[in-house]
Amino acid sequence: MGLEALFDPAFAGSLPRFITPILLAALGGAICERAGVFNIALEGFILVGAFAAVCGAFFFGSALMGATAAIFAGVLMGLLFAEFHLRRPGDPIVVSIALNLLAAGLTTYLLRTIFGVAGAFRDPAIVGFDGVRLPLIEDVPLVGPVLSGQSPLFYLAIAIAVGLHLFFLRHRLGLRIRAAGENPAALTAGGVSPERVRLYALVACGALCGLAGAQLSIANVNLFVENMSAGRGWIAVVAVLLTRGRPLPLLAIVCLFGFVDSLSFRVQGLGWPQQFTDMMPYVATLVVLVVLSWWRMRRNA
């Protein structure tokens, strides 16, 4: 198999579709991580967002309404997390496990009751996002197909990644979020409640994960499938853990994971068994995790 068979413009153009959902979710996870909330319910947040996006796009006939519904649903999940973890003393991991289950059960349940189908819901009335064409850039070779013609959520995700870096660095709330994670006592002494800051972080995380779900269900495709988050939330969690919630390294590592994800999709066409290609993103994540953990352990030893 020649390399040029893999890295043609169509492949380059598909990259952002794989990167965007993981990136959006991971950015949400990063905000939580920096605020000191150990949120591993990203998988459930994404799933609920994907379902809400399809509902919004179906009932209102607009992709924008789909994305809005996804944000609302994601925020609702964030508020649930806050209710059971911040306001009541629920352990974040227990709450996360429960919310992931809740998302899996509830989306399937509602899929059956609202749309009367099991497995997958597709309908011409679901209006998804169109690609945004950038006039001059699309003619540039190599980069053109990557940067042009993507869903608006891709551009948003990149902008948020860079913006979040500056936000943590410069903005007052960004500093407070970092303080809530690193030194909540200092924040309390400064007259700000860490709990409140964490609530904001969870709301932001919910919104971002909701958008990640919207990218999956109404930008990459125009349908909802049971459990369509399919482990992407966990990959985002790993990306957050590896980078400790720093946006720019996060962007880099998510691009790597997204690359492997799209590569796996590609080599499927070359006759590899589907199970091996499906497995690639997880194995890649595990390998990166092993290498970085080992390196960190040696450095600390």
């Binding site: 352990d91 809740l102 509602l110 966990w234 853990l241 400790r244 997880y282």
Partner: protein
């Protein structure tokens, strides 16, 4: 928030539980309204589906499902109590079940020996898969929570490939192995449709309860769970203890897989251990009773009844059975918020520690 007074009057102790129950029933009611079912019909379908049926067939289903869930719960309990957050039970279960099926199909010899070898092989395979996560955690520094979880995916996909290609029963048209010779199946209890696999789980439960609460070894692993530095300072071989615990945990998951193969399905079919969420239900069952060993079987039975009851509700009242998963999650949310001692504190410091910035 955790400042609970020493003495509470029974009424004040009960009040929060009444609220929790009211919330859960309220959510259940709203979900049923969406599905357009009558409460009475749904309740009847639920009770019949969980405990009724002709010659108690559904009760037998509940019992055999609860055997698998309790098994997964015991597996999780052993590692959780040692502070090892092994949430890779699904992978260990799948690998164990698949290995047991292969041995059951391929091994010649007297039927009883085949069954025994299949179960032993399943346990060994589950133990090895759990120890892989353990080695990555203890010697490489990969957080166990994440490492064990990520290992679920290779387990799922590798077995899916093997059962779909090299070991597929081509004539059946589905990705599944050949049937195991029926002489090697686990027998039913006389006059029922319940296989004796549940006896293995009862034995495991007794051993696990005695082990965690009465043996020195169990005490040592528990101590490691409370405080690894303290255990280490006391001269305990903490890494070796952790590996042993994970191996036991994985072996129980493998046993559950083997029981499902030899007692229920008589073959390995793709997804048969993943889709019913046995592993996640086991985790939830342990969390519900806050890792108290003797209560784990009760909680496992409760969730099995919830699931088979929901299936009955779907048959008679048309309420989708996914309601059960949703209710499981809601119950855990409310219970977790009532008990501040239900924590994974150890893992959190593990994953957050020492930020380089």
């Amino acid at each position: 928030m955790s400042g609970v007074p020493d003495r509470l009057s029974p009424m004040r102790e009960l009040t929060p539980w009444i609220w929790v129950l009211a919330w859960i029933l309220g959510i259940l009611f709203v979900l049923m309204l969406i599905a357009g079912a009558s409460f009475g019909g749904a309740l009847e379908g639920f009770l019949n589906g969980a405990f009724g049926g002709r010659r108690y067939a559904y009760l037998m289903t509940t019992l055999s499902r609860s055997a698998l869930i309790i098994g997964m719960a015991l597996s999780v309990m052993l590692s959780f109590r040692a502070g090892l957050f092994n949430i890779g039970g699904e992978g260990q279960l799948v690998i164990g079940g698949f290995t047991a099926a292969l041995v059951g199909i391929a091994m010649p010899g007297p039927p009883l020996l085949v069954t025994a070898a299949g179960i032993a092989a399943g346990m060994a395979a589950g133990a090895l898969w759990a120890m892989l996560a353990g080695v990555l955690y203890l010697y490489v520094g990969v957080p166990l929570l994440v490492g064990s979880l990520l290992l679920n995916y290779p387990a799922r996909y590798i077995t899916s490939y093997l059962v779909g290609h090299p070991f597929r029963d081509v004539q059946s048209g589905l990705p599944q192995t050949h049937l195991i010779d029926n002489a090697s199946w686990l027998p039913f209890f006389p006059g029922t449709r319940l296989d004796i696999g549940i006896l293995f789980i009862i034995a495991t439960a007794v051993i696990a309860i005695v082990y965690t609460s009465m043996t020195v070894h169990g005490y040592r692993t528990r101590m490691t769970g409370y405080s690894m530095p303290f255990a280490q300072a006391s001269g305990l071989p903490v890494r070796w203890l952790a590996l042993q615990t994970l191996a036991m945990s994985g072996a129980i998951a493998g046993l559950v897989g083997a029981i499902a193969v030899f007692g229920i399905h008589y073959r390995y079919a793709d997804g048969m251990l993943v889709q019913p969420l046995y592993a996640w239900t086991g985790i939830v069952a342990v969390l519900l009773v806050q890792m108290v060993p003797w209560a784990v079987p009760l909680s496992g039975f409760f969730f099995a009844a919830l699931q088979t009851g929901a299936a009955g509700m779907e048959r008679t009242a048309g309420v989708p059975k996914e309601l059960a998963i949703t209710m499981q999650a809601v119950i855990i949310l409310f219970v977790a918020s009532r008990f501040s001692n239900l924590t994974f504190e150890g893992t959190r410091t593990e994953t957050e520690g020492g930020d380089g910035t």
